[in-house]
């Protein structure tokens, strides 16, 4: 069996404290759910960075296990044995939309865009994707089975995604014409993950002040009116008592589960210069969500297709997309693009490191052993807008692939990689996305 649910996982999912669990433990439906599932968790996170890469400083020249890491991939050095590069995987989808639009819109969906009215730099205008994306496809499968169901099923993280819903800013789709907006505000993500618990704490923190307030006003009303106020105050005291008990139980459960509610730095605004900090905050929340088993599927979208972050922290003033159009002969731009992509790789390495440092809750090894990061991009190369050789770098053991190797598939449609991924997650499919690109089945040589 693929999945195993430990007692602690089960407690977390059911949202009950150990104390409460003692009481419900004898219910047959609960005991059987906890006792019969025996498999490890598999997690998957897709990380997006935009505008293509610099192939010469990205792809290893040596294939197989003896591959070398070029400049851009250097930050992953520590994870060399746990990573895989896949050259020759191409996004071959045609139809409406410019290169960037089809690049991002077909990346996880493997299917064309609808005709529409969004005009890119070239080609015909287009709308949203005509199909579901692989992350949502997997979420639906996992959520359909009580053994793999989680609180959210999937989480969609973003970093500095423009406040504009269009083909260039969305890559995850719940279905045809159903783009999913990523949450790019860490405080909003925190609210989604821990809002209820946070609010309970807030309430406890203000109840004392409230009681004092009641005593103050009670003094100035008639005896008849005081009755209502006393009743109200008494109720507040009861609420306080119950909340304290809840919080105690909650703390006990979360310490038993090995994860505490993370603490975010305060007052970080959505601004270009805060990209590094926001990325960290979001990644920390992602790791926490995995540890708490809030989800097993995530997407992590850094900016957007045609994204224009200005990486001043790397002393680069120009926007990324603008630079990506410069010819290879522009040495200055070329160097900057290498730096930019290296920075993206550092983020992936940070995520890998956080997962690697965290022991797998209720399992063996680290969380990285049970998670695969799929780092990708909408283009193979920025100035040509090619969707051949889409950057695919995999880190971690979630999919059970044979890591520590560099592969080249020549020129295969990326739908086949999507098929490999769904198969590795335990849901083999004949096709995913446009069936025309699936005739040869999943890629071989990955396992």
């Amino acid at each position: 069996m693929r999945n195993r649910t430990t007692r602690r996982d089960f407690l977390a999912k059911a949202g009950i404290s150990t104390a409460a669990a003692q009481l419900v433990w004898n219910l047959p439906s609960l005991t059987s759910a906890a006792a019969t599932s025996r498999a490890t968790k598999q997690r998957l996170v897709f990380v997006f960075s935009p505008n293509g890469i610099v192939p010469k400083q990205f792809w290893p020249e040596t294939l197989g296990e003896e591959f070398e890491l070029k400049r851009i991939l250097q930050p992953l050095e520590k994870f060399k044995s746990q990573m895989m590069t896949l050259h020759g995987v191409c996004n071959q989808l045609q139809g409406d939309g410019d290169g960037h639009m089809r690049g991002i819109g077909c990346l996880l969906t493997g299917i064309e865009l609808f005709p529409g009215d969004i005009q890119g730099g070239s080609d015909t205008p287009a709308g949203w994707s005509t199909g579901i994306s692989i992350d949502q496809h997997l979420k639906n499968h996992l959520q359909a089975d009580p053994a793999t169901q989680t609180r959210f099923g999937s989480l969609e993280f973003g970093v500095m995604v423009p406040e504009r819903a269009d083909t260039w800013t969305r890559w995850s789709y719940a279905g045809p014409n159903q783009p999913i907006a990523p949450i790019d505000n860490p405080y909003k993500m925190f609210e989604k993950l821990y809002g209820k618990s946070k609010n309970r704490r807030l309430l406890v923190s203000v109840l004392d002040g409230l009681a004092e307030d009641f005593r103050k006003v009670e003094a100035v009303v008639s005896a008849e009116d005081r009755h209502l106020l006393s009743k109200h105050l008494q109720m507040i005291r009861e609420v306080e008592r119950d909340l304290q008990a809840d919080l105690l139980a909650e703390e006990k459960t979360s310490s038993e589960l090995g994860h505490a509610i993370p603490k975010l730095p305060a007052n970080i605004l959505k601004e270009n210069d805060n990209i590094p900090q926001i990325t960290r905050m979001q990644m920390d929340l992602l790791v926490n969500s995995f540890a708490a088993d809030f989800t097993r599927i995530a997407t992590f979208q850094i900016t957007n297709s045609v994204g224009q972050p200005r990486m001043r922290w790397l002393e680069i003033e120009e926007g990324h997309h603008g630079l990506s159009h410069e010819p290879d002969t522009n040495e200055e731009a070329y160097e900057k693009l290498i730096k930019i992509n290296t920075w993206y790789c550092e983020q992936v390495a940070y995520l890998a490191k956080r997962l690697d440092e965290t022991p797998e809750p209720g399992g063996e090894g680290s969380m990285l052993d049970h998670t695969t990061i799929v780092w990708t991009n909408e283009l193979g190369k920025g100035n040509s807008h090619t969707r051949n050789n889409i950057p695919f770098v995999l880190v971690g053991g979630g999919l059970g692939f044979k890591m520590g190797q560099s592969l080249d598939f020549g020129k295969v449609p990326h739908n086949r990689l999507l098929l490999s991924i769904t198969q590795a997650m335990g849901f083999p499919e004949k096709t995913f996305g446009n069936p025309e690109f699936c005739t040869d089945g999943p890629l071989t040589g990955l396992v």
């Binding site: 015909t124 002040g209 209502l228």
Partner: protein
């Protein structure tokens, strides 16, 4: 003191019928009788009614008070009492008990402990909490001047951008329901490349979840609640997706900014024809294109509508009162407070920062200022040192995270008794108290309007004339208009929109659309009367015109044709003297109070007795199904009703019910005027015995309309309802003669409704006891 008694639920049996004649008797004989009556009362009645008629919790808890004459009371006792053996107290005995009751407590005010006579402390009701939070969001005092709904402002541009030079059409669109096809919206506009912006506001009629539905073949972005808040983002036209729905809870009477940017973009590929419509599905309503009466072309400030569900309030006194607290309510106020605090952190705080970006911000001074402004608004007055520390400084100093500080501070504020109990205002200045009470009375909300805020702060609401002027001004506000609208809904018992279906064979074309027109006609008719210059209550019953539409004229005939030819929408009809009497005979009410095919004089009679004349009725002893018309094909409705309710027990109440209800027999089951029923001429005669025991006979609806227009019973009832609805406290709580005073001033003003509302607001808002002196020596507890 019937106005001091609970009205809706508690029906005092002894008040169930009305006297026709007083009984005269010698004093000595009276005393003897009374003594005899006392003995019987103590033996047979006190067990259930308690000593001195105070009531007994387990048997008959309501105090034994009423307005029947001795003879009528005696008649009822003989007929119905004691309940387990009505034969045990007859004739002289019943007269003796009635005499005893009359001479002792029956007509007297209740003992103080039993009288809901004081202004009791109450928490905000759910409506008040919802409305208060909506105004707290607008703590900066932005309000919308009263405006007539008529549609949205529209700007049509050539080219798919908002570019001044390309503006081709500027107009008001009454509704949004367009099919421009491939031809485009007008001259000099490229049909393949254009942009339309609709801007204005939506006003909600009711509180609850509204589903907004936009159908569009092109790209559009809809902003709702604020011109910056994206509500539906269809910036991308994609495939064949054309329907977009989203629900949210709106608050009755509130105005929400709305903007739709609509793009037909030129493209290399095939273009769909351009179409757009804006619909909604209001709570309990059907989906419809949002009518122009809910669309305003005004520029509206950003608005907040609470999404949290709040549990219903106590209505045992016939109107909502915040007189109890429980866990469910407490949890809902926590949720509401958090919802508001989150929106304040997300929207109001950045606005404050933006506005004050050049000002000093040492030690988070701006955050403190922001919070104190909101909290002072919530607490209806400035913060003292202690408040500043508890509500602002402590939460801010507790965390370096601004957003958390806002949540903490506002959660504490909105859970505080200072916010939840508006009556805790003894430490406020009299002007501040007046402002806050006026806002609560007329808006169910907080005093946030800039002018009101300034007057309260400047001590300019201390005098009655100042309060009166403020109340008059406040009536010209959407919030007051909405509250008054709801008053009339309650008075006419049409708060709930119910489905009304009729026999299709008899009443072809009586359908949902017709019904919607009827309701709209009735509601607008009331508004026209109330907000007209004379604001004459009597016209509600005497007006011989109504408001009509083409559909209504088609169904109800020529007397429903608009007065002016060639007009569209809802229009005044010509008069129909002798056959139309304002709300009384309005087909919306007549159809509601009728069966599928036949009228229901009993429903109509009960409505008239309870709602318009304020008399108490006990519920029927058991449930009766009406006699089916088919069983007596020769009988008229009147004859059938008389047949069914002729029993002695029934007549106790039905004498009154039928006397009123049968007067409307000229109006059939859909409210069409008729003079013949089943080949018999309609007999619309009836009668009514007033509270002061005068019998009035009616020849037909005209006499009834006059009774309602001029009679004191109807005035008293309306005033009491208005008072309860606006103030949510008993009338007598403001002094035992308050009702007498209001009745007199209503008469003096020629029954001016506006002035009545102002008068009520002034009473509720004033500290001074300008009203008639308090004979019982009650002190105002407040």
């Amino acid at each position: 003191m019937p106005e001091a008694l609970p009205t809706a639920r508690r029906l005092t049996i002894f008040a169930a019928i009305v006297a026709c004649f007083g009984l005269s008797m010698g004093t000595a004989r009276g005393a003897e009788l009374s003594l005899h009556g006392k003995a019987i009362y103590e033996k047979q009645c006190a067990m259930c009614h308690g000593e001195n008629g105070v009531g007994v919790e387990d048997y008959f808890p309501d105090p034994l008070r009423g307005d029947l004459s001795i003879s009528n009371l005696a008649e009822m006792i003989a007929d119905t009492m004691p309940e387990d053996d009505p034969e045990a107290c007859l004739g002289k005995d019943s007269l003796a008990v009635a005499t005893y009751l009359h001479e002792t407590f029956y007509r007297k005010p209740l003992p103080k402990s039993l009288r809901p006579q004081r202004v009791s402390l109450a928490r905000l009701t759910k409506t008040q909490l919802r409305q208060s939070l909506a105004d707290l969001y607008a703590y900066q005092g932005n309000t919308i001047p009263l405006a007539h709904a008529q549609g949205l402002k529209a700007m049509y541009f050539d080219g798919s951008k908002h570019k001044d030079g390309n503006l081709r059409i500027e107009r008001v669109d009454a509704v949004l329901d367009f099919d421009f096809g491939h031809k485009g919206p007008g001259k000099k506009i490229d049909p393949q490349d254009f942009f339309i912006q609709w801007q204005g506001a939506i006003q909600a009629d009711s509180t609850g979840p509204h589903e907004i539905v936009i159908r569009s073949s092109c790209a559009f972005v809809c902003y709702f609640g604020s011109y910056q808040r994206q509500f539906i983002d269809n910036h991308v036209q994609s495939g064949a997706r054309t329907e977009f729905r989203r629900s949210l809870v709106l608050t009755a009477g509130r105005i929400y900014p709305l903007r739709i940017d609509f793009f037909q973009r030129k493209r290399k590929t095939e273009q769909p024809p351009a179409k757009i419509s804006l619909s909604w599905k209001p709570p309990r309503g059907v989906e419809q294109i949002i009518p122009s009466r809910n669309l305003l072309k005004v520029e509206a400030p950003a608005a907040f509508s609470l999404q949290t569900h709040l549990p219903p309030d106590d209505r045992s006194y016939g109107y909502e009162r915040g007189i109890s607290v429980d866990r469910q309510w407490d949890e809902s106020t926590t949720e509401a407070a958090l919802e508001f605090a989150q929106v304040a952190a997300d929207e109001l705080w950045p606005l404050h920062q933006q506005k004050n970006r050049n000002k000093a911000d040492r030690d988070r001074a701006q955050l403190r200022l922001f919070l104190s402004e909101i909290i002072a608004t919530a607490f209806r007055g400035p913060l003292d040192e202690h408040d500043q520390k508890t509500y602002v400084d402590d939460p801010v100093d507790a965390t370096e995270d601004d957003l958390e500080a806002i949540l903490r501070s506002l959660l504490l504020t909105l859970k505080s008794p200072r916010f939840l109990y508006p009556g805790l205002d003894t430490d406020r200045s009299s002007s501040q108290r007046a402002a806050s009470r006026l806002a609560l009375t007329l808006f169910d909300s907080l005093p946030t309007d800039t002018w009101l805020f300034l007057q309260a702060r400047g001590g300019e609401l201390a005098e009655e004339t100042q309060i009166r002027a403020a109340a008059e001004r406040m009536l010209d506000d959407h919030r007051a208009r909405n509250k008054v609208r709801e008053l009339f809904h309650g008075w006419l018992n049409i708060e709930n929109q119910i489905e009304i279906t009729k026999n299709e064979e008899h009443f072809k074309d009586f359908n949902a659309e017709l019904l919607a027109d009827l309701r709209f006609s009735l509601e607008t008719f009331i508004e026209e009367i109330v907000w007209s210059k004379s604001s004459d209550y009597r016209q509600l019953f005497l007006a011989d015109w109504t408001l009509t539409t083409d559909r209504l004229a088609n169904f109800y005939g020529d007397t429903w044709l608009p007065k002016a030819a060639n007009t569209r929408g809802l229009q005044p009809s010509a008069g129909d003297p002798g056959k139309r009497f304002g709300v009384l005979t309005h087909p919306y009410l007549m159809s509601r109070m009728a069966y599928h095919t036949n009228t229901s004089p009993i429903h109509r009679g009960v409505f008239l007795t309870r709602y318009l004349l304020g008399r108490m009725l006990r519920p029927p002893q058991e449930a009766f199904a009406p006699i089916a018309a088919e069983l007596h094909p020769d009988l008229t409705t009147r004859q059938r009703v008389v047949l069914q309710t002729g029993g002695r027990n029934c007549q106790v109440c039905h004498k009154r019910i039928n006397g009123l209800g049968l007067t409307l027999e000229n109006f059939d089951a859909v409210g069409r005027y008729r003079i013949v029923e089943r080949e018999h001429p309609v007999d619309a005669s009836g009668s009514y015995t007033t509270r002061d025991r005068k019998q009035i006979d009616f020849a037909g609806p005209e006499d009834l309309a006059e009774l309602l227009a001029y009679g004191e019973d109807a005035h008293r009832t309306f005033i009491q309802r208005a008072f309860h609805h606006l103030v949510k406290q008993p009338v007598a709580a403001y002094g035992p003669d308050t009702m007498t005073y209001l009745l007199a001033s209503f008469e003096q003003s020629n029954y001016n409704l506006r002035e009545l509302f102002v008068e009520i607001a002034v009473i509720a808002a004033s500290d001074s006891q300008k009203r008639v002196s308090n004979e019982q020596g009650d002190s105002d507890e407040k």
